[in-house]
Every structure is written in structure tokens, then in C-alpha cells.
Amino acid sequence: ADLTIGFSQIGSESGWRAAETTVTKQQAEERGIDLKFADAQQKQENQIKAIRSFIAQGVDGILIAPVVATGWDEVLEEAKDADIPVVLLDRTVDAPEDLYLTAVTSDLVHEGNVAGQWLVDEVAGADCRIVELQGTTGSSPAIDRKTGFEQAIKGHDNLEIVRSQTGDFTRSQGKVVMESFLKAEGGANICALYAHNDDMAVGAIQAIKEAGLKPGTDIKIVSIDAVPDAHLALANGEMNATIELTPNMAGPALDAMEAYLADGTMPAKWIQTESKLYTAKDDNQAVYEMKKDLGY
């Protein structure tokens, strides 16, 4: 019989998130799965409500993209009591491992690390004053990507983060905050920008251009996510590097789920997705063409 699977998505706060939703729906359709989609509007309580409703409805399996790591024990236990397997997408949770089947995620700290490492290699010992555009204050990508980056540049005294402010993961805030960085530090004194996501980087690029500087040349830019617009910027030489966070978490997740439901195969507890580094050397135009219809 056809499977019915509930998917509790955080919301649609960014292009990447929208792409993840699109890809998940595509993946489910390819497999003939009836996907029940619930958008939580960025609220954990809504996600918990949705999961409880899925259980009440008697679905075969549940996918969750948890908005935050904590607070899932109780509801996961209920799912377990009802014999419904749960797979986590793009973030793990602070709950006993037996409460979920597996987690398909990237490593957020690792992403920050890759970005930092790239910058370390890129400046090759020269002095570099870095400005940082953080994600939404308190969100785990913001915290982890900051941590990873700081780990990577630790011990390299030539690299220094001189200003760090939140850009709320949005393009317009990225632009606004970058404008203030440029004025507060003076454009010439900034060597590199690290943005916690591409949207903020794209906004910042415009601010840099309006200040009469050349993004990618006067100020090096590295960010995370690899959304289509970032590839375009890379292709135009306005950006230097981005680290991919694949929106296809559902593929491996549904594979694991199907296998488990078919014959009880237990997958590994953590399926890590690749954090690929894209730089100007890659054929970004081609990647852009490929990605632009994914719903980013």
C-alpha cells in the first residue's frame, strides 16, 4: 500500500528552506508517497502540534526539520509509543537516540570551519580584518557557523573579526548592516566578509558596490548555503566562496524510512550530507542553471 508520511517543516523563511520543501515534495512524489505537509511558521509549538496531529491521524512515518534542538523528548516518545518512525532533517535534537530512526543533516560547525579554512588559505598569512554578518540571534545555524569559523581562524593572528552584527539571515538586513560596517570601519580597512548565509552576502555585495568598492576584489566574500544567486555572484566575480548546504535531505531520509518500514532495516544514526566548497574555479554558471528551478 502507499505510504503516508507527515512532514513538519519549520516554515518558509528563506529561499533555501523553500527549496528544501520543494525537493522533499518531489522526492515523495517520485516514490509514490502521500506526503502530509505542515508548515510551522517558525514556531516549535506548532511543530509539536503538527506531530501530535500526525500521530492522531495514524501516519506511517514522520519527517521533522526541527526548529531548535531541545524540547522533543515528550512528543517523540508519543510517536514511539504509536510505533511511528521519525527521521530528523537538517538538524539533530537533544533527545535519546532511540526516539528517532535517524538524522539526515549537515554539520553546521563544519560548514563554518570550511569557510574559515578557505579564508585562512586565501589570505595566505597576510593581515586581514574580517567583518561578520551573523544569522538570527539565538538560532543554531548562527551559533554553530560562528563557532566553526572562529575555530578555523584560531591561532592565525593575521585574521581578526573586527565587527560582528546580526543581519537576521535576510538580504535587506545584510545590506543595511554592511553599510554601517563600511562606514564604521572604512571600506578600505575591511579585507573580508563572512556571512552566515548567502542572502545576507548578496545584500552586502550591493552595499559594497554602492560604496564604490569592488566586491570580491576589494573585499573578499565567503558565505554558506550555495543558493543560485550566490553561484551567479561567484560567476560574476563578486563573491569568492560559498559552502553548499544541500536542500535534498529528504532523499536519504525517505530511503531510510522506506527500508525500515519494508523490513525493519535500521539505518545509521547520522547520515551526514556533504558540505561542498564552491569557489570561482567551479563552473558556477552551469550550477546556477541547474539550481534555479529548484524553488530557491
Partner: protein
């Protein structure tokens, strides 16, 4: 039936009708599981909505409650992580802080004659800001006492779990209703909503009542924060963003007028249930995209408001014809 009870009855009828309608489409909605979920999942929202009802009845508004819930959660988590304080002590401390915070807002509103909207907006920034300063990270709570509290539930036939926090909410509603309708303080709240200047001439102690109202709202937001921390076993500074709007919507759907003076605490309960039902229905449907979810929530909100308007209009029109009250509309 008194004509003043009409909005309450309308809300009740609306809820029953909607529940039956949803049930006819998805029979699983009529299970004890869904009923228990409605109570458990909306417990914290229901508790703040009781406080919000008082505030709105008095003609005010409290935008800070969502942030206060988040603050309470983070505060409890940090205290329980960093000290060896017993959770009950921490609860008491949290309640004292949030009540005092509410009272301070009330005092600002009264003594400095500033509009509640703005004072509580600043309170909203302040409480969330304080939560950030305590911890930006989400802090898990691991304490056996929490496990004990979370372990208290009654499992009904059909798999529904009626948990402690749902009970706390129901109790809050009962106490809230009694305070609103059967105490002098409650009557003073209504009086304030009818017109502060008139109420003052009639001898209502304005300062005491205003401060009391916002203290209650703050304290109940604190209680909701405790309930929320039991619900998620964590404190998170980004939690419950925008809950104040949900609470206001629930109060209004429950038949309370935002301009103050008219409404019932019990109505708010059904307001909460109606909103919970909307969400449950959307999840059961499961085909709506992110954007259609928003649009449908908005449209359903609109439909409920219209239904309410229509019912009130129809009944008062009949009544007008019957008794001939000469109110100028």
C-alpha cells in the same frame, strides 16, 4: 439568557459547529487524542490568554507576553543548569519576577499616562532582550522533578493523554472566570474598560486596578513560561515569537471587544479551542503549501469573525424587533 451573554454563546456554538464539521470530514478528529492534544498543546497559550482577557477587558493590551514566556523559559533553564535550586523554588522566583515586571508596566501606564500598546511593546523588546542576554543558545532542562511533572497524565480510552499542563490551563480559566465575574477587582476591571474617567469618578481605584491587571498578565505569562518549559524541557530565547498576537486573536474570537468592557473569560477558552482546531484541521489536510497555510489561517480567522458578527446581528435584530430597545446604532 441575558443579552450580555450573547457573544459567549455565539462562540460556543461556533466551536461546536466547527468541531462537528471537521469531524465529519476527518473522523479521527473526534478522538480523545485530538481533544487531549488541543488541551496540552494550547496550555501555555490558554494561560496567557486568560491574562490577556483581563488586560483587554480593561481596554488595554499587552504585547510583552510572548517575550515574557521565552524569558521565563530561559531563566528557568539557566537557573536549573547553573545552580542546584529546586525547580519549585525557581518557579516561585520566575513568577515573582514576571509579576513584578507586569506590575512595573502597569505602573508606567498609569502614573506616566502612557498608552499600553507602547509600554508593553517596549516590555516585549526588554523581556526578549533579557532572554538573549541570559543565553542565546537553547538550554535543555534535565531535572528529575521535570520528569515527574511530565509523567503525570491520564491516558484516556483511544490513546489521548490528558497531561498536567492541560489541567493547569483549565484551572487557570476557572480561577480567571471567578475573579473576573465574582470579585470586586474583576468588576473594577470591567469598569475600567467602560471608561477610565467615568470609572474614576465612580470611585474605582485606578492605580491599584491597572497595576493589578498588568501584574496578573505578567504573572500568568510567567506561569505560561513554566508550562512551556515543561512542554519542551528547555529554555530558548527565540521561543514563542508572536504569541501575543495569537493570544489577542483568541481573546477576540472568544467574543471580547478589544475596546474593552465587554467579554468573558470563558469565551477566551473557546477562542483558544477554535484556533487550535483550525491548526489541527490544516495538519490533517496536509496538502497546503507554506503560503496557502497562511492564507487559509487568515481566511478562517476572517470567517469566524464574520460568523460571529452575523450571529450577533441576527439575534439582536430579532431581539430589537421583539422588545423594541431604542439604542441608536
Amino acid at each position: 439568557m441575558r443579552s450580555t451573554h450573547l457573544p459567549l454563546i455565539v462562540t460556543l456554538v461556533t466551536f461546536v459547529l466547527a468541531f462537528a464539521l471537521c469531524g465529519s470530514q476527518y473522523p479521527a478528529i473526534l478522538s480523545t487524542r485530538v481533544v487531549a492534544n488541543l488541551l496540552t498543546d494550547n496550555a501555555f497559550l490558554g494561560i496567557v490568554a486568560v491574562g490577556m482577557t483581563f488586560v483587554i477587558l480593561s481596554g488595554g493590551i499587552d504585547l510583552s507576553v510572548g517575550s515574557v514566556i521565552a524569558f521565563t523559559g530561559v531563566f528557568l533553564a539557566v537557573i536549573l543548569r547553573d545552580t542546584s535550586m529546586h525547580p519549585l523554588m525557581a518557579f516561585a522566583l520566575a513568577l515573582i519576577i514576571t509579576t513584578a515586571f507586569g506590575a512595573a508596566m502597569g505602573a508606567t501606564i498609569h502614573y506616566l499616562e502612557m498608552p499600553p500598546f507602547i509600554v508593553t511593546l517596549a516590555g516585549m523588546f526588554l523581556a526578549r532582550g533579557a532572554a538573549y542576554v541570559l543565553s542565546t543558545d537553547s538550554v535543555p532542562i534535565e531535572h528529575e522533578f521535570y520528569d515527574v511533572l511530565q509523567g503525570i497524565y491520564w491516558k484516556a480510552a483511544g490513546g489521548g493523554r490528558f497531561r498536567l499542563i492541560g489541567g493547569v490551563m483549565v484551572l487557570t480559566f476557572i480561577v480567571g472566570a471567578i475573579v473576573a465575574h465574582r470579585t470586586r477587582f474583576g468588576q473594577n476591571v470591567y469598569a475600567l474598560g467602560g471608561g477610565p474617567q467615568t470609572a474614576k469618578l465612580m470611585g474605582v481605584p485606578l492605580a491599584q486596578t491597572t497595576i493589578g491587571i498588568y501584574a496578573i498578565s505578567g504573572g500568568l505569562a510567567g506561569l505560561a513560561g513554566i508550562v512551556f518549559s515543561l512542554y519542551t524541557s528547555a529554555g530558548y530565547s527565540l521561543a514563542t515569537v508572536g504569541v501575543e498576537l495569537d493570544a489577542i486573536a483568541a481573546v477576540v474570537i472568544g467574543g471580547t471587544l478589544l475596546s474593552g468592557g465587554y467579554g468573558f473569560v470563558a469565551g477566551t477558552f473557546f477562542g483558544i479551542m477554535i484556533m487550535g482546531l483550525i491548526q489541527t484541521y490544516i495538519v490533517f489536510d496536509g496538502t497546503l503549501s507554506s503560503w496557502w497555510t497562511k492564507i487559509v489561517i487568515g481566511m478562517l480567522l476572517f470567517a469566524f469573525i464574520l460568523l460571529q458578527k452575523g450571529l450577533i446581528w441576527a439575534t439582536t435584530a430579532r431581539k430589537r424587533r421583539a422588545t423594541g430597545s431604542a439604542a441608536l446604532s
